[in-house]
């Protein structure tokens, strides 16, 4: 209705989309709903921060997948492989720099972590480029083949990781300055979790800024709505595809590094395990929606943390239960992308 109203208004060049704030309240509501069940408020704070940190990491991994799907209509089952590869690339840098990691100086720590993150993101971006051009490009528009091929790519990548690095778990200790926790009142908040929350927010906000405030973002959003029209207007959609795929893969790599540091270990199976979680988040958010993905990630992580504390057995199925509940309410996810 509001779209029609504003369309009649000559001064408004474009009709404004109706804002849908209801899903934004869900994580808040979930947090508040858990409050009465948890004995002490300091535990609640710790659990909530842990949930937020986990949610941000999942969001970073999932955002690439949802963006790629939204623009290219490709569901990349190989996304999990990029997560694992990112983590392994980081270990390649961090293990030789072990001395700097253990040094009690934030600058030496950063001198180890920053190159690791850069190597992981650049490496996964380049692999993403190759993967898109070689593996996915021949099967655009064929969902069945895409699923099969990217799944095959995932298996091959995981097995190559096994062959190169062996089946054992590689320890990846946190740098000294990120260890330990802040004490606020009675609540202990681990430093690394705060870093994760900040990093997640930075990624989320910069993605929103790029999508909504830049020309590239405009093209991407237009491509999500109608690929053919963007092409007809003279833009090379292929370049856009490649760019978004590389960015998405790099985000998966970044997520992999963060997850590896969070767990303080890396193994080849982590990609497959996280892929399932990422899928659930992307489905909850609505395939293709970045904001939906953000909310979905927070919801899943918070629910897992609360349930893990209150009823540990229940934590095994909270993801699925949450997904079912959301889909019963909105069958296409929180923020369905309209064109598909």
């Amino acid at each position: 209705m509001s779209a029609q109203d504003s369309a009649t208004d000559a001064s408004a060049a474009l009709p404004k989309a109706r804002r849908d704030f209801l899903p934004l309240l869900l994580p808040v509501a979930l947090g508040l709903a858990a409050l009465p069940f948890i004995p002490s408020s300091s535990t609640w704070v710790t659990l909530t921060i842990a949930g937020l940190a986990m949610g941000m990491m999942i969001f970073i991994m999932a955002s690439g997948l949802t963006l790629i799907f939204g623009l290219m209509d490709v569901l990349n089952f190989g996304h999990g492989a990029f997560i694992a590869i990112g983590a392994y690339l980081a270990t390649l840098v961090l293990l030789p720099l072990g001395g700097w990691m253990q040094a009690d100086s934030i600058w030496l720590n950063l001198a180890a972590v920053v190159p690791a993150v850069i190597v992981a993101m650049a490496g996964t971006a380049v692999l993403g480029l190759a993967f898109e051009r070689v593996v996915i490009a021949p099967v655009y528009g064929q969902h069945l083949k895409q699923i099969l091929i990217t799944m095959g790519g995932m298996i091959v990548a995981e097995q190559i990781l096994y062959a190169l690095f062996g089946p054992q778990q590689i320890p990846l200790p946190l740098p000294t300055s990120l260890r330990g926790s802040f004490q606020i009142g009675e609540a202990a908040i681990e430093k690394y979790r705060v870093v994760c929350v900040v990093a997640g927010l930075v990624v989320f906000l910069s993605m929103l800024a790029i999508l909504n405030r830049t020309r590239i973002g405009l093209l991407i959003r237009a491509g999500v709505e109608n690929t053919e029209m963007v092409e007809a207007l003279g833009y090379r959609i292929t370049r856009l595809f490649v760019g978004v795929f590389m960015a998405g893969s790099a985000l998966a790599g970044l997520g992999g590094v963060m997850w590896g540091l969070y767990r303080e270990q890396v193994n080849a199976a982590m990609g497959g395990e996280l892929l399932v979680l990422v899928f659930i988040v992307v489905i909850i958010g609505g395939l293709g929606s970045v904001t939906g993905c953000f909310i979905g990630a927070l919801l899943v992580a918070l629910a897992t943390n609360y349930a893990g504390f209150l009823v540990p057995k229940l934590a095994l199925v909270t993801d699925i239960a949450l997904m079912v509940a959301v889909l019963l309410w909105r069958p296409r996810g929180l923020y369905p992308v309209t064109s598909r």
């Binding site: 083949k145 099969l148 091929i149 298996i155 062959a163 062996g166 399932v276 489905i283 199925v317 296409r332």
Partner: protein
């Protein structure tokens, strides 16, 4: 329809080479206990039967309905665990098997129905993601609820006396091969799998099967012609799930054990995918060819890989030993899988039929 092709539901192999290969496989399986005596060959033969029926039920989904499911092993596991838990808690009785089936098959159908109605409404890609999520949750549940499923260790159980290896019907000196309860179990598996396969062949050649193929080719058109897509896809999913559960039950009876690795692991899912794709999607016979090749390769080629790996290691070549290590079997399967999706989308059966059909 010619009366002699009645069991094949009017869908013969349509290729002389294919027909010969199928007959060889069928004869080999039918007389396996006598042609290939010994415990390992019989195990391989039983596994071939089980994988053929399982892959055929998956082909109904992947090949004929055009839907990718990652929850097929879940249904297989439901059947396996149903029989295993019943036999474990009630003892080695026939009615325990019946009870297990009576619980497992409807449960599989119900699960498949719920998942289908829930996720097939929107997009098939949604279905693939949701089945993956549900199946992994199910795997975690099965390995955590140890009071029911035995957890990671699974459940070993005794089968009814008639099926036990110790029961000898014909001693070794009469036929040269002892006919035991194990032989009887093998034939139970073989006949059941053959019947399930023929049932599936009947389904895909029925009017219902034709509608499924129409939906696969062009959902909009099929819907415009008045066929409800969701209903048909969901029914196909339910049917495939029930067959998978039945096959799972047979597998449990054969192994006398059910655990996460034999009944639910994601590797089995990949195996089935590979069998269907390599054999030929949407052909049913592809399941027979693919299943046989796959199980034979799995049992005999892995040993060869070990030899290559050791030889390369002794020759001092870098990287090759770890690439050919028998544990890296999935790597080569994955490459083969990708290659066959690209280059032989119609699989071995499609190649043999020469693209004419």
């Amino acid at each position: 329809m010619m009366p002699r092709v009645m069991p094949l539901s009017g869908d013969p192999p349509r290729s002389r080479v294919l027909a010969v290969v199928l007959i060889v496989i069928m004869v080999g399986l039918a007389f396996a206990p006598f042609l290939f005596p010994g415990a390992k060959p019989l195990n391989v033969a039983a596994k071939v039967c089980i994988f053929i029926a399982l892959a055929a039920s998956y082909d109904l989904l992947l090949g004929y309905t055009g839907v990718v499911s990652f929850a097929h092993t879940m249904f297989y596991g439901v059947g396996s665990y149903g029989v295993a838990i019943a036999l474990y808690s009630l003892g080695a009785r026939w009615d325990a098997i019946g009870l297990g089936l009576a619980i497992a098959l409807p449960l599989a159908a119900l699960l498949a129905f719920a998942i289908g109605l829930f996720s097939l409404r929107v997009q098939t890609i949604f279905f693939a993601m949701i089945t993956l999520a549900v199946a992994s949750a199910f795997l975690v549940l099965a390995s955590q609820l140890s009071w029911l499923t035995g957890g990671e260790d699974g459940r070993s159980f005794r089968v009814p006396e008639l099926l036990q290896p110790g029961t000898v019907f014909v001693p070794r000196d009469v036929l040269g091969v002892a006919v035991t309860g194990r032989t009887l179990t093998y034939y139970l598996v073989f006949v059941s799998c053959a019947l399930l396969f023929l049932l599936l062949l009947r389904v895909v050649n029925s009017p219902f099967g034709r509608v499924l193929q129409a939906i696969r080719e062009n959902p909009f058109r099929a819907e415009a012609l008045g066929y409800r897509i969701v209903i048909h896809r969901t029914l196909a999913n339910v049917l495939a799930a029930v067959v998978a559960a039945a096959v799972g039950a047979l597998n449990a009876l054969w192994l006398r054990y059910t655990g996460p690795d034999t009944a639910l692991s994601f590797n089995i899912m990949l195996d089935i995918l590979l069998i269907v794709v390599i054999g030929g999607m949407g052909t049913m016979y592809g399941a027979i060819i693919g299943g046989t090749l796959f199980v034979l390769a799995q049992n005999y080629l892995q040993a060869l890989m070990g030899t290559v790996s050791t030889a390369a290691g002794e020759a001092g070549l870098p990287l090759l030993p770890s690439l050919f290590h028998p544990d890296r079997w999935l790597l080569w399967l994955g490459i083969l899988f990708i290659a066959s999706v690209y280059f032989f989308p119609s699989g071995i059966v499609g190649k043999l039929r020469g693209g004419s059909g």
